[in-house]
């Protein structure tokens, strides 16, 4: 299939404005119905968290030796989701992969919200969340500093940096688009958008600075794509636990993160395209490209899986071998094998070109990838801790109502943010889509003044 090189030839600049603006119109009842459902789920999660704070972490299923379980699984999962957004917006930007234009805004929003979701989990996870600020290196009378040797402190820095850069990058990218929306709005809305547009006028001077800032931020964000999940992986790799203590973990985690992020992008943009009628901007070619990247990351991940098993096997280390064996054949065998089916086998469908553009297949594959990637983190953490050095404590962790509810509610939190965003902000980059529209069509533009 050979699609046109950019967006889609049929759209005009005016179409872009119209199509994006349309997403900001008053939403229908369906939208609010969904938002209500999501808000209710979120409320359950908040209540569960409140209950947990009031009584203690015992209400979640955590135990000795699985002192970490669902919360850290979710944390790593959501951090991972964030990576695809930055990859698409920053790395592909630097590589001038023009097909990214129509999906990057959604992906970037996903990144910011995923990191915001992930950032909650360390708070939910710790025993005394009211003292979580002690992990920050703030000046205090007692000269107490955090322990810079602890991977958790590295996490604090990595995540906060990542959140800062992605938020700034996201906002910078939004400014010209907000200005475009501002110009088409009236009344109070116009005033609000005017504030958000930071006085953007589209002058040449502004554009020059904008481009430089954008490029610089893209360059800043790029190493973070690799570093953040590497640091997250150090939480595991730096501990002695068999199945954790491996130099493989950094690239392994980064690849897995990008893999799951692509799946999440697909899950988000396929319905957006259908609902907003953005077939002209998000074409089959985009989906095909995304699917190919998903396939590649899946294959790389499979390679890492083989490495992981191979390392455990050939190390001759009894603990490593026993840990692998326990994960594969003991209490958690179903989650273990399901992970491989989801992450290594099912994505192979994407070798088939028709599957890459078939929305249903793509969507189903993406869902399986998300399940698989969540299970991957689960399988590292829960069975890994469950069958480590000391046989006395071996055993099975079972999620309870509280931790399960909070897990589900984290999705509600994410979707609440995301669905809220697409109704108030342009979720398709007006500026960048226009940039890649074929030149001759510019003359038929009416409304645009860029």
């Amino acid at each position: 299939m050979s699609a046109p090189p950019v967006g889609s030839g049929q759209a005009t600049w005016a179409d872009v404005n119209r199509d994006v603006d349309r997403t900001l119109l008053n939403a229908g009842n369906t939208y609010f119905a969904w938002m209500t459902v999501i808000a209710l789920i979120l409320a359950c999660g908040v209540a569960a968290w409140g209950w947990q704070i009031a009584t203690g972490l015992g209400v979640a299923g955590i135990r000795t030796p699985q002192m970490w379980a669902l919360y850290i699984t979710n944390f790593v999962f959501w951090i991972g989701i964030g990576h695809a957004g930055t990859l698409i917006s920053a790395i592909l930007y630097l590589f001038r992969a023009k097909w990214r234009t129509s999906i990057y805004r959604g992906a970037e929003a996903m990144t910011v919200f995923a990191v915001m979701t992930a950032g909650l989990f360390p708070l939910i996870h710790v025993g005394r969340m009211w003292f979580a600020y002690w992990l920050l290196p703030y000046p205090n009378q007692r000269y107490l500093w955090p322990n810079f040797k602890s991977p958790l402190i590295w996490d604090v820095f990595a995540i906060s940096t990542y959140l800062t850069i992605s938020v700034v990058f996201f906002i910078v990218g939004l400014v010209p688009d907000i200005a475009a929306i501002r110009d088409r709005s009236t009344g109070l809305k116009r005033k609000i958008y005017a504030v958000c547009a930071l006085g953007w006028e589209g002058s040449d001077w502004q554009w020059r600075h904008y481009r430089r800032a954008y490029g610089l931020l893209a360059a800043l964000a790029t190493p973070l794509v690799l570093s953040v999940h590497s640091v997250v992986s150090f939480d595991f790799a730096m501990a002695l636990v068999p199945g954790w203590h491996s130099s493989l973990f950094a690239p392994f985690f980064v690849d897995g993160a990008i893999f799951s992020g692509f799946a999440m992008v697909l899950i988000l943009i396929i319905p957006m395209r259908a609902v907003f009628g953005w077939h002209a901007y998000i074409t089959d070619r985009h989906l095909d490209a995304m699917a190919k990247l998903t396939l590649v990351t899946s294959l790389v991940l499979t390679y890492f899986y083989l490495c992981e098993a191979g390392t455990a096997w050939y190390s001759g280390e009894h603990y490593e071998r026993a840990s692998l064996f326990a994960r594969a054949f003991k209490s958690y065998k179903y989650t273990f094998w399901l992970q491989y089916i989801c992450n290594s086998l099912i994505p192979l469908v994407l070798f088939w070109r028709k599957a890459r553009t078939n929305l249903v297949i793509l969507y189903v594959v993406s869902i399986f990838v998300l399940i698989g990637m969540w299970l991957e983190r689960f399988n590292i953490i829960v069975p890994g801790l469950g069958y480590d050095f000391y046989p006395y404590t071996w055993g099975v962790y079972l999620p309870r109502v509280v931790d399960s509810t909070i897990t589900v509610a984290s999705f509600a939190w994410f979707f609440l943010l995301f669905l809220g965003f697409i109704r108030v902000m342009p979720s398709l980059s007006i500026v960048e889509v226009k940039e890649v529209l074929p030149h001759p069509l510019k003359h038929s533009a009416h409304g645009g003044h860029h």
Binding site: V59, H125, V126, P391, Y392
Partner: protein, 1010 residues
């Protein structure tokens, strides 16, 4: 330094400040100092120590109670006491929970309703007086526990004066068989002292002397003297029992016999010794020959399932050791043929020359003075026959401990007035017309003689416990009886035959006699104070000469009669944690895992694996166990460690208590999902037994019924914290063959391979580097350390559900590891606690330095700083860190036991073993005041202090001459999981085994000691 220094100033400020703050906010702290004017020996903040006697079982170990600000917070063994020499068992520690039990009576009760004390006494006195006046005093019966001291004599005096029936000393486990056998064999109605420590070859026929038999702390300590590897020498221990008990698990060889064949085996061994001419000299050969005449090694082998070769080998090794000792007892010693069996053991001991040397009749056990079970049966019949008008039960619970078939409960219905004198509610007290609460032994004056020549003196170690701000209204039973007796007979205080104003006066008078007996020349007050300080008076053990009587030759090795048509023989055995059941209402004991099965909070039926497979039941499936006398329902525990023809159930559970705490109601703090303290779970196997006493001994036959098993199809999963007994080749607990151990000893330390080198420079310590050693060869798994630690360090109890889910908070866990074939494993017991690693995986991962390395080599844990990321818990390869999943509470008044020197941890923080940091600090403070450094032996950790086998040592590793430093360089030393490179400060010493587990045949001959 004069006047008030800075430190004292802060102390005063803190105390008054706390008192002022207590009224201001939060729940009231209640009365912080129970004394308005503190007695001279109570200094706030400084503990006072009182010696007394442990009354948790008839062993009568010496206790030292640590009193802090008017409350006893810790019990420790009395090092001077000849019985326990400083050690204390798991039940002894839990005595504190009896003292502070929430179910303690607040005052007198009549028909379950509170009543004024004087009124209650008057009711009893009126009844006694009326009966005495009517010359019907014989219709008054009094039953107490085994009281061998002044209280017993006072009660007997009371009985004499009033004219009541002779008092019964009821002990559910009274070892009547041993006494009967000694009557038959030696003409002595007593239970001698067994000098296990002096033996080099010990054979036990079912005597669980490391758990409950006679005097377990003394024998455990003796056993380590006899058996622990020391300077290349070690003794040999062979245990004969159908199931592998904790005692059997410590044996060099466990001989699994068919239930009831011990007598045959003993006679067969006797025959082998006589046939081989290995008997010790003496004129009793004819009697021995007569007894052995009917014995047949092959027949014994086929009946018992023990290979004839084993019988011959053990018999020969025993005789050739020249310092052999055979003991017998346990529940094998209470069947219908048990007297014959125990006589056979006496003969065997005579044949090997143990009687008079290692068996000392001059130092008889207190058990020799207990009333046989048959007396209780007679009393029950008298009650049922309407011959008893008033029954006084002093600190006994026969409603629980008598078999259901005995009809005791029904007979109680025929007694117009039953008076219970007891500290806490029990099955018996709820049926009592009158309850006259007794003080806990720790609050009472008294004395107790656990063995001839040893008299322990008891003194109040604190005032009566305060519940809801009021001291419990209770009296020493002696005082109650004196008062009731006087009122009944119409005398004023200090007049009449019961002339002593208080029991204390009676006690003093008795002790004046004791002073004379002991030839004391000093003034009585000095003698008395010395006894109070020392905890009693004692003489060296005596050995009385005994001669074998010809009657002993007329015994048979017949198997006991078993009632019922069931498929399996029922083995009922006393629990090492609950004894006969009196400990079951202590949450500490319920939560301490049974050392063999690691079960907490429940009882279970041990079923042979083959049977379980055939029945299709697995662990936790509820099974109905039915005998001709009753049936109980218990979760199955399939095991390879029991004879295929037997099932076993421990005593002690299955209480039917009405108390607020004991009935399983959640503890008062409603928001706290914690203590779901279901104390009355499980079942009482005594209900399966018949009630008829064994005619030969008068005891209750425990090996008496066959039972059938039926799966119910329901489940009750057992709460077992230990996931597996298989170490999976991780060598956590290690062993070494005896020959290699000797060789290592000669060669000294092997090349340093204990821990891998680290990339970091090794830490330098200025003064102290604390470390411990744990000798796996000495550890018997008794679990006293588990509860000692819990008591010292304010470790909460979490309840059954949490325990089952890996949330037990114990800082020290007692692991059992099995090596070799499943049916004949090598068992190793290993206390596991924080290893205080030099290169600790938990330290670098903590983001806030809550886990950090102290300058004295400890892994510190700052509770205040802990945020609760639990990273350290994951990083610790030993999983000895404990997270506070909830705010754990102590149901009042159990909270009064808390150690003020140890923080009570709040929800959300990590905790773990601190090597008793508070004791280290106290020792350092003391040393600083003495202007010196802490020296070896200045302090002991709680686990070390209580250990009967001295398996644990603690000390400064920088002190090269210290015991711990020396032991940590032992050739048997190793670090658990050393290859990870944690360089732990705890050195374990390998167990010394006679043969590789599962290796060829019999153990290589054990070396002799001495």
């Amino acid at each position: 330094m004069s006047g008030m220094d800075r430190r004292s100033f802060f102390k005063v400020v803190a105390t008054t400040g706390a008192a002022a703050a207590a009224g201001g906010c939060g729940p009231s702290a209640g009365q912080l100092l129970p004394y308005v004017v503190p007695p001279d020996n109570i200094v706030p903040g400084i503990p006072a120590y009182f010696s007394t006697v442990c009354r948790e079982c008839p062993s009568g170990c010496g206790l030292i109670a640590k009193n802090r600000d008017g409350r006893v917070i810790k019990l420790e063994g009395n090092p001077d006491n000849p019985i326990n020499t400083g050690a204390l068992c798991i039940r002894g520690h839990a005595g504190l929970q009896g003292l502070y039990h929430p179910d303690r009576f607040r005052g007198a009760l009549a028909g379950g309703k509170p009543i004024a004390w004087e009124e209650a006494e008057k009711q009893l006195a009126d009844r006694v007086g009326a009966l005495a006046k009517a010359k019907q005093a014989g219709r008054i019966a009094i039953v107490s526990g085994l009281e061998t001291g002044s209280l017993g004599r006072l009660m007997d005096e009371w009985v004499r004066v009033v004219g009541a029936r002779p008092r019964l000393s009821y002990e559910p486990l009274a070892y009547e068989g041993l006494r009967a056998a000694n009557r038959v064999a030696f003409g002595r109605d007593s239970i001698p002292d067994y000098a296990i420590g002096d033996a080099s070859y010990l054979v036990s026929f079912g005597a669980d002397f490391l758990e409950t038999w006679l005097s377990p702390v003394a024998y455990t300590s003796d056993f380590s003297r006899m058996h622990a590897f020391y300077q290349g020498r070690t003794g040999t221990f062979v245990h004969v029992e159908p199931r592998l008990s904790l005692t059997g698990a410590n044996a060099d060889e466990w001989v699994r016999n068919a239930p009831g064949t011990e007598g045959q085996l003993a006679l067969a061994m006797l025959k082998v010794i006589l046939d081989d001419g290995l008997q010790a000299g003496g004129g009793e050969l004819a009697t021995l020959r007569a007894a052995a005449r009917s014995a047949d090694v092959e027949a014994a082998a086929s009946a018992s399932g023990v290979p004839a070769e084993t019988i011959r080998r053990v018999a020969r090794d025993l005789a050739r050791s020249r310092a052999g000792l055979v003991i017998a007892g346990g529940m094998a010693g209470s069947g219908s043929s048990s007297t014959d069996m125990l006589v056979a053991v006496n003969l065997l001991n005579t044949a090997i020359g143990a009687v008079g040397s290692r068996i000392r009749f001059g130092s008889g056990s207190a058990f020799g003075k207990a009333s046989p079970y048959s007396d209780m049966v007679a009393l029950t019949q008298a009650m049922a026959g309407g011959q008893i008008d008033a029954l006084i039960l002093v600190d006994v619970n026969p409603v629980y401990s008598m078999p259901a078939k005995s009809g005791f409960v029904d007979a109680l219905g025929k007694v117009p007035l039953m008076v219970a004198m007891a500290g806490r509610s029990s099955e018996t007290t709820v049926r009592a017309g009158l309850v006259l609460p007794t003080l806990h032994p720790l609050e009472s004056w008294g004395d107790y003689s656990p063995q001839d020549g040893v008299i322990g003196l008891m003194q109040p170690t604190m005032g009566p416990v305060q519940i809801e701000g009021k001291p419990v209204q209770a009296k020493n039973p002696g005082d109650t009886l004196l008062s009731v007796g006087r009122q009944a007979l119409g005398f004023e205080e200090g007049k009449g035959p019961l002339r002593w104003p208080t029991f204390r006066d009676f006690l003093t008078e008795e002790w004046q006699k004791i002073a004379r007996d002991h030839g004391s020349t000093e003034p009585f007050t000095d003698f008395w104070e010395g006894a109070l300080r020392r905890g009693g008076v004692w003489r060296a053990p005596q050995s009385a000469a005994v001669a074998l009587r010809p009657e002993a030759g007329r015994i048979s090795g017949a198997a006991p009669k078993l009632e019922g048509e069931g498929s399996h023989v029922l083995l009922v055995y006393p629990s090492s944690r609950f004894y006969d059941g009196r400990g079951a209402d202590r949450a500490w004991l319920q939560e301490a895992p049974d050392p063999m099965t690691q079960v907490t909070w429940d009882s279970w039926v041990e079923i042979p694996s083959e049977t379980a497979t055939r029945m299709g039941v697995s662990r936790g499936d509820l099974v109905t166990v039915k005998s001709p006398h009753g049936s109980i329902e218990l979760p199955a525990y399939p095991t390879d460690l029991i004879h295929p023809g037997a099932v076993a159930v421990a005593m002690g559970q299955g209480h039917k208590l009405p108390g607020a705490y004991a009935s399983g109601q959640p503890a008062p703090a409603a928001s706290n999902p914690q203590p779901s303290t279901f104390l009355n779970v499980g079942a009482n196997p005594v209900d399966l037994l018949g009630a008829a006493p064994d005619p030969a001994s008068g005891g209750l036959p425990h090996l008496a019924v066959k039972v059938s098993l039926t799966p119910t199809g329901r489940r009750r999963a057992l709460a077992i914290p230990q996931a597996t007994f298989d170490q999976d080749e991780r060598e956590l607990a290690q062993y070494v063959a005896l020959g290699s151990a000797r060789e290592l000893e000669l060669r000294g330390r092997p090349p340093a391979d204990a821990s891998k080198p680290s990339m970091y420079p090794s830490v330098k310590y200025a003064e102290y580097k604390w470390g411990m050693t744990v000798d796996v060869d000495r550890c018997t798994g008794c679990s006293a350390c588990v509860v000692a630690c819990q008591s010292e360090n304010n470790v909460p109890v979490v309840g059954r559900e949490q325990a089952a889910y890996g949330r037990i908070q114990h800082w020290l866990r007692l692991e059992r590891w099995q090596e070799g074939p499943a049916a004949q494993p090598l068992n190793m017991f290993m206390p596991m606690f924080c290893q205080h690693c030099e290169v600790a995986p938990c330290e670098p991962v903590c983001p806030v330095y809550a886990a950090y390395h102290t300058r004295e080599g400890l892994n510190g844990q700052v509770y205040n700083r802990c945020v609760g990321t639990r990273y350290c818990g994951n990083a610790c390869p030993y999983h000895v860190r404990r997270f506070n999943w909830f705010n754990y509470t102590w149901a009042a008044p159990l909270d009064q036991q808390l150690n003020p020197d140890v923080t009570v941890r709040e929800a959300g923080v990590m905790e773990k073993c601190t090597m008793c940091l508070q004791r280290i600090i106290a020792a350092k403070t003391q040393a600083r005041e003495d202007r010196r450094a802490v020296k070896d032996g200045d302090m002991q950790t709680a686990c070390q202090q209580t250990c009967p086998t001295r398996a644990i040592t603690f000390g400064n590793l920088k002190d090269a001459g210290g015991e711990t430093s020396k032991l940590s360089l032992s050739p048997r030393g190793y670090h658990a999981l050393a290859e990870i490179g944690t360089q732990s400060s705890v050195t374990y010493l390998k167990k010394v085994v006679r043969a590789e587990p599962g290796g060829s045949g019999h153990p290589a001959g054990g070396g002799h000691r001495g």
